[in-house]
């Protein structure tokens, strides 16, 4: 007899069993109301009499009931989860943003589903598919390589918040940082210190952030009447190794420069190492400025002068915007302006 019993029936047959999740139905039973009422109280969907509300609240507390997000997702379409497309789960820069997202989402009961796009549009597209199949309530895209069109299309089906670009579309909010001004700031700082031969290590060409920083560099030179010298700009790829290589190339070409502006901190680290290898001191022989203000930039030798980018804030704001989008209110948020952090890797050019 027992053998032929379906396992599910068996589970139901033993109501005393402490295992097995507490369901909404059990709450309803204990509170002597209908499941719908419990659901309504849970979601604030409609007004219910204070009396029943109390009964239900008590039952919930007594049973330690916690709603099943999976069932919720199936029935209501809301999963209380937000998909986040980051480019590498272990990125030193975006890591802070992820933390910001987490910190913002957690208190309101949302979970973040992090997936990595690896700076590859095709992979990112797959990420979107995965996230959508998991019925996330919204998608936050941290920069990446998706086209604006792809993002707009996606936003037709699910709210989207994207960073690192300026874009307007229904159901979509874009959060951008002023990389142009940031690039100006860094370059102007070096100019003010008396430098005129300032090398620039770029990011890879496809990255709008990097090209904006480059434009800022050019603009600052121009404003100071310093002729732009193409021989002083060398292509990097946002990695430490590429920064190192860039300086090696500069040195091999016997370029003269008294300062370097690297399009991000990681390349600045690599550049510093290359200079060290060539017995050039920072900042006495070469001033160095980065971009991002990573956590480690404060503890590197020498502590790096850099343009602060509010990664953590960026994450929080992105999450806030998403929450507002979900709540139906039009988000209007702005990122803090770029800010130069003067530390010890840059100094006045000695005569």
């Amino acid at each position: 007899m027992k053998i032929n019993m379906p396992v599910r029936a068996m589970a139901k047959a033993s109501p005393t069993r402490s295992k097995g999740p507490v369901t909404l139905e059990m709450v309803a039973q204990l509170a002597a109301v209908s499941p719908s009422t419990v659901s309504r109280i849970l979601n604030g969907t409609a007004v219910v009499s204070a009396l029943k509300k109390k009964a239900v609240d008590d039952a919930i507390a007594k049973l330690g009931f916690v709603p099943n997000p999976v069932a919720r997702g199936l029935a209501g379409g809301r999963t209380l989860s937000i998909g986040v497309i980051t480019q590498a789960i272990d990125s030193p820069f975006y890591g802070a943003a992820l933390r910001g997202i987490e910190d913002e989402l957690d208190p309101v009961g949302y979970s973040a589903l992090f997936v990595s796009g690896h700076w590859n549009a095709a992979v990112e597209a797959r990420c979107i598919d995965v996230l959508r199949s998991r019925r996330v309530d919204g998608i936050i895209v941290l920069t990446g390589r998706l086209t604006n069109q792809a993002l707009k299309t996606c936003a037709k089906n699910v709210p989207v918040v994207v960073t690192g670009r300026t874009l307007k579309a229904p159901g979509l909010v874009a959060l951008n940082f002023d990389n142009f001004v940031g690039g100006q700031l860094a370059t102007r700082h070096l100019i003010e210190l008396g430098h005129r031969q300032i090398a620039f290590i770029s990011g890879d060409a496809e990255q709008p952030d990097g090209v904006e920083r480059f434009r800022g560099y050019c603009a600052a030179l121009d404003a100071a009447n310093i002729a732009f010298d193409p021989a002083l700009v060398v292509q990097g790829g946002f990695t430490e190794a590429s920064g190192l290589l860039a300086v090696d190339r500069l040195l091999e070409a016997r370029q003269r420069f008294t300062a370097i502006f690297a399009a991000n901190d990681q390349m600045a680290f690599g550049a510093a190492l290359a200079l060290y290898r060539h017995s050039l001191r920072v900042p006495q022989d070469v001033s160095l400025v980065g971009f991002d203000d990573l956590l480690t930039s404060l503890h590197v030798i020498p502590p790096l002068t850099t343009v602060h980018q509010p990664a953590y804030e960026l994450g929080r704001l992105a999450a806030t915007a998403m929450l507002q989008l979900l709540a139906g209110i039009k988000p209007s948020l702005e990122l803090p302006a770029p800010r130069l952090i003067e530390r010890e890797s840059s100094c006045r050019l000695r005569d």
Copy 2:
């Protein structure tokens, strides 16, 4: 009329509508088989005739059907998602492990749900609740502060893989790295270079990893007949700032030392900065060895001698173990042995 129609009925009423996810039922219809058959093919639950299988496969391809993980989770209890409790989503060390987990899980269709425990047992317990409420198929715990008992209890309900401790229990596999040997390796390296006054910067006391490394330090000293000097060990907290402070304290106390072993790389960075501030050169004046081998340790100045810890591998192995646990096969995996990476922050003691 239309106004009073339930929205769901409306959706069903227009089969031509390109939107709306393709369901298993639609596949069944197109293939002229029952939904159960489609399900069976999808899950390999039972043998089906090759003929029908082909029909179904074709239908799936034609419709671009992708099963809904949410519904799957509700019906079958499997969500194809693995919860991962990391301590900080932006940890430079665990970040690599997260990537390893992701890389291993992704190809087999599993998603990782990352949550942060912040080195706090209570928070980690909450993480477990969240993950369980989301019906993850298994939980990977990256170190943290949960008690062994809590882990064992958790493992009764859901497969658990935990790193950073040695533990045996049903449904649980623990992956540990030999921090003791690692600590020996680092210390012995310095001893072999002629150092005898070797300072140790510890992690915080509650962290087993750190105390093991300390034990290794002591053992290596002992083996070389060097008297242990408590004045040479100073408490840190695994952060750059704490490493910096530790060296400051050592210097203020006018302790004599020719080398430092820091219990992790981040503290080593801080230590290096402190030495720099005091015009002590690494390695000429003080040799420095870290632990972890972070990505940045290679590009710091000077590149850091350290004990390599295979964080990425750790992640992959943890995920592999979880997959095996889920498949019902007993995992037996082992982490690579500790390995010293000699770089430029340590050198022979000059006479």
